[in-house]
Amino acid sequence: MLSPERLALPDYEYLAQRHVLTYMEDAVCQLLENKEDISQYGIARFFTEYFNSVCQGTHILFREFSFIQATPHNRASFLRAFWRCFRTVGKNGDLLTMKEYHCLLQLLCPDFPLELTQKAARIVLMDDATDCLMSFSDFLFAFQIQFYYSEFLESVAAIYQDLLSGKNPNTVIVPTSSSGQHRQRPALGEASMLEGVEASLFYQCLENLCDRHKYSCPPPALVKEVLSNVQRLTFYGFLVALSKHHGINQALGALPDKGDLMHDPAMDEELERLLVQVPGLVNSVTASSEASCLPSRTPSRVASPWRPLHHSRKVDVESDGSTEETDESET
């Protein structure tokens, strides 16, 4: 006979791990927040809308940071929302400072922490934490890595520091033979001449990390690809490589490829419509500006990079209650 606990736990854990609980909690919380209004147009309607918005990724708009970073899906949605809303800023060619990007982020998430933006800027500026100007795409891709993988990157930083100071990253179980060898090297002072750490050793540690890391990590295969190209590399060098790696970008799935970053024909169309409504605008101006935008509108070419993320699929699945098959593949 199966004990009730043994049966119950996987279910609950599964739901928690797939963040279904997060969304359920949030849905109820939202319902509580506005119960009078929502009860007016129907609670069933509300839940439908809520989970629809979660699927579409619009649920994170203007939400608090704790919610935005709560799930990978939320992070991806936020990245995508940021890209969609401020793509025009990048298109205009403005180079902005870290602080200004931070302001833009805050327009979508009022309590977005400065620290994250600073870290992203550091990736772009290779640790020169000065107030330099950055292009939109540089910042966006760096920010993507930093934001989406922030916990992973923190662990990576710790590992990197350990490696740099010659310590064996204690939590990582590395085959003693190889680690012993490599550990000696930086301690001998070679590191001062050769900047950074050795790539292969670094990868070993990272692979290990990926295996046991409970937060999202970049696909280990792609990390390997990044690290296989070089002998040694620095922490920021690694981050820059990550941020520029389009495979990782694709795997993450929030943003289009770098080449297509400025393309969003549906939104461009929307924008043109909005421009016509600018108060007191002379028509000729609109016409000319529209004309200038026309070439960029090639709808067929741009496949939407927005693939339905598996998390959102889970949300739908959750309602079935039959979860056993997917369970294994995810853990």
Partner: protein, 703 residues
């Protein structure tokens, strides 16, 4: 102009000696047509001396009773000129004068040696009884040879070349001494001329008034056309009634109040520029006639009423009679002036108070902003802004016309300032159409009951040294209290992020926005202006930081942020919309919720209705700003709810999974259970007879 002649009567014993003359100087004719002198010397008090009477022929009666003096110029008629023979004397250079006995009898008391081309004074012999001696228009360089004429009363040396006053020490009876148009540099050697009545020194080169204090009988002193730079040393001239000082370079006058009899003072054409420099005149009670024309002071707007106000005793000013009306006017004007001065004093006091308060607020602000280290530099920075850094010079100049009040005023101001000692932490000021608020305390002033007029007049509101987040909280009040405010100014308000501008959208109208870069880092952003234009597009702003907003700016703003608005309005789930927009706005968005399925274009068209209502683009309304404190408060509040939700969901899910688990267990058990049940039933009915028996038994038992 007025030919005059002098008759000398022979009745010298008359107690009343009177002589009158009148003259005009050729060069003065044009400007001073009706200037003439009618000089009367009455010395009845000293009978034994008064044996002379000069009478002016009365063809001068065109100016009866009019006494006026400028440059004494005597115009003796030479009709009855003496027939004199000048014979070379035995002494080398001095001619000896002789008159026929007939002449002597006819004019025994007078001798006229006018226009005789004399270079020296001739020796006048046997004429000891002479009373009047006239040397006009000669070339005499030195006064000589007359010391024997001890009965001389009248000595006229007009238009000679005398360089020094001398040789007069024996002429103790001399009453009239005319030395006009000579080359005298210094007033001297008059010690013995104690009876002098008229002293004419006009047209010389005298630079200062001296050696006259013993002339207690002097009535007329003419020092016109000299080189005097100031007037003083007038003590002792107790009988002086007329003092002519025209055409000098006098810039200040003193001692006039020591002249008890002075009635007429002529100061025309000098260099007097303020009343302060002649203030002693106000203390002279006898003065009734004065002239200032041709001085800088006479050009001033305050000239007339200042003079009249300060010299109530005056009857004539600049040759014109002072009317009662004028006097009244003067006192009115003076009163006004006084008020103005008091007002300006108050103003400067306020100004200074304002400056100090602002400095204080700035200091507080800096402390608050952790900029303590550079406080001194901050103060330096502020000072040039303030209009009157040092109050004293400013006040000194504004009230210079009233020197007697300068002292008390200044010290009053200073003490008042010290009294301030700046404990104020905020400042509210309404200046014309501008309401200026300094320091966060000033925001409380919005709770005050402002008069409708003031409230209506204020079109510009300026915030300085106030956290923007604090300002946000009073914006609704501002909207109500100052409905006409069109121009907002922010300086040192910690505007850091773009989203802070969202808060301004709730106002009724903004035409102009001025964000001072000082203390507002947001201005350093490249996008801030566009964001403002975008977010506040419903105001159709005209100027941002003083720069005209162009249509291109508007397009650019839309181009940069239009999508944000679109996303915010069309993609925001309804439940989020509701929670973001407050209850107040909810109604206006009710319709927005309904046509969700429709195309966005239709939505924005419909929005036009609400645009009129709310005055704001609906697709932007979701971009709002809550202050950090409020936001954190809200998050805190939500945290509780979240906790509850978490527990609730946890319970719910646990329950659900439990039910599910039981269900599954049941599902697993059920087939076996069913089989068992069927088996039991089959076994029971296998023996039909015994089963029937049993059933019957049960039925009977029931009965």
């Amino acid at each position: 102009m007025h030919p005059a002649s002098i008759n000398t009567t022979r009745s010298y014993n008359d107690c009343v000696g009177q002589w009158i003359w009148e003259r005009t100087r050729p060069e003065m004719v044009v400007s001073m047509v009706n200037c003439g002198l009618h000089l009367v010397i009455q010395t009845s008090s000293l009978p034994e001396k008064n044996k002379v009477e000069f009478k002016l022929s009365k063809d001068t009666s065109s100016f009866p009773g009019r006494l006026l003096q400028h440059d004494l110029e005597r115009n003796y008629s030479s009709r009855q000129g003496d027939h004199v023979n000048l014979v070379s004397s035995s002494m080398p250079s001095f001619p000896i004068l002789q008159r026929s006995s007939e002449e002597k009898i006819l004019y025994s008391d007078r001798l006229t040696l006018e226009r005789q081309k004399l270079t020296v004074c001739p020796i006048i012999d046997g004429e000891e009884h002479l009373r009047l001696l006239n040397f006009q228009h000669n070339f005499i360089t030195r006064i000589q040879n007359i010391s024997n004429l001890q009965r001389l009363i009248f000595l006229d040396l007009y238009d000679n070349q005398i360089e020094e006053i001398s040789g007069l020490s024996t002429l103790r009876s001399l009453r009239v001494l005319l030395l006009g148009k000579n080359r005298i540099r210094k007033i001297s050697n008059l010690e013995n001329l104690k009876s002098l009545d008229v002293l004419d020194l006009h047209g010389n080169q005298i630079t200062k008034i001296e050696n006259v204090s013993h002339l207690c009988d002097l009535r007329v002193l003419n020092l016109a056309r000299n080189l005097l730079s100031h007037v003083d040393n007038l003590n002792g001239l107790d009988s002086l009634t007329e003092l002519n000082l025209r055409h000098n370079q006098i810039s200040f006058v003193r001692d006039v109040d020591n002249l008890p009899c002075l009635q007429r003072l002529f100061l025309s054409f000098n260099n007097i520029s303020s009343f302060e420099n002649v203030s002693c005149l106000a203390d002279s009670s006898s003065l009734s006639d004065i002239t200032f024309d041709g001085n800088p002071i006479a050009q001033e707007s305050w000239y007339k009423h200042t003079i009249l106000q300060n010299m109530m005793q005056l009857r004539q000013l600049d040759m014109k009679r002072v009317t009662e009306e004028e006097r009244r006017m003067a006192s009115v004007v003076a009163k006004k002036e006084e008020e103005k001065k008091r007002e300006s004093h108050k103003q400067s006091l306020l100004k200074e108070k304002k400056r100090l308060t602002i400095n204080n607020v700035a200091r507080k602000w800096d402390l608050q902003q952790n900029r303590v280290a550079n406080i001194p530099t901050n103060q330096d920075r502020k000072d040039p802004d303030s209009p009157s850094q040092d109050p004293c010079p400013v006040n000194g100049s504004t009230i210079s016309a009233f020197p007697e009040e300068t002292g008390p005023l200044d010290s009053g101001l200073i003490s008042a300032l010290q009294g301030l000692s700046v404990t104020d932490t905020h400042l509210v000021e309404v200046d014309g159409d501008t309401l200026s608020l300094y320091g966060s305390g000033a925001l409380e002033s919005l709770d005050r009951n402002w008069s409708v007029q003031t409230a209506g007049m204020v079109t510009t509101v300026s915030f300085t040294f106030i956290e923007f987040d604090e300002i946000v909280q009073v914006l609704p009040k501002l909207k109500i209290k100052f409905p006409n405010s069109l121009h907002l100014k922010f300086k040192e308000t910690n505007l850091v992020t773009l989203q802070q501008f969202n808060a301004l959208a709730q106002l009724r109208r903004i035409d102009q926005l001025t964000i001072d870069p000082q203390g507002n880092p947001v201005v350093n952003f490249t996008l801030w202006k566009y964001y403002v234009l975008f977010r506040l597009s419903h105001f159709s702003m005209q100027k941002i930081n003083g720069t005209e907003v162009t249509q291109n700016d508007m397009i650019m703003a839309e181009r940069l942020f239009g999508i944000l608005a679109h996303v915010a309005s069309s993609e925001l789930p309804q439940y989020r919309m509701i929670s973001i927009l407050g209850d107040a706005r909810k109604k206006q968005f009710q319709y927005l919720l309904e046509p969700k399925g429709k195309k966005p274009g239709i939505i924005s068209e419909e929005n036009n209705d609400s645009k009129r209502l709310v005055g704001e683009n609906t697709n932007r309304a979701t971009l709002n700003y809550t202050t950090r404190d409020f936001y954190n408060e809200k998050l805190e509040e939500v945290k509780e709810k979240k906790k509850f939700c978490k527990m609730y969901i946890e319970d719910l899910v646990k329950e659900a999974t439990e039910i599910n688990m039981k269900n599954e267990a049941l599902q697993k058990l059920w087939p076996q259970m069913f089989i068992e049940l069927v088996r039991d039933a089959v076994i029971e009915i296998r023996n039909k007879n015994s089963y029937m028996k049993l059933c019957l038994q049960q039925i009977t038992d029931q009965k």
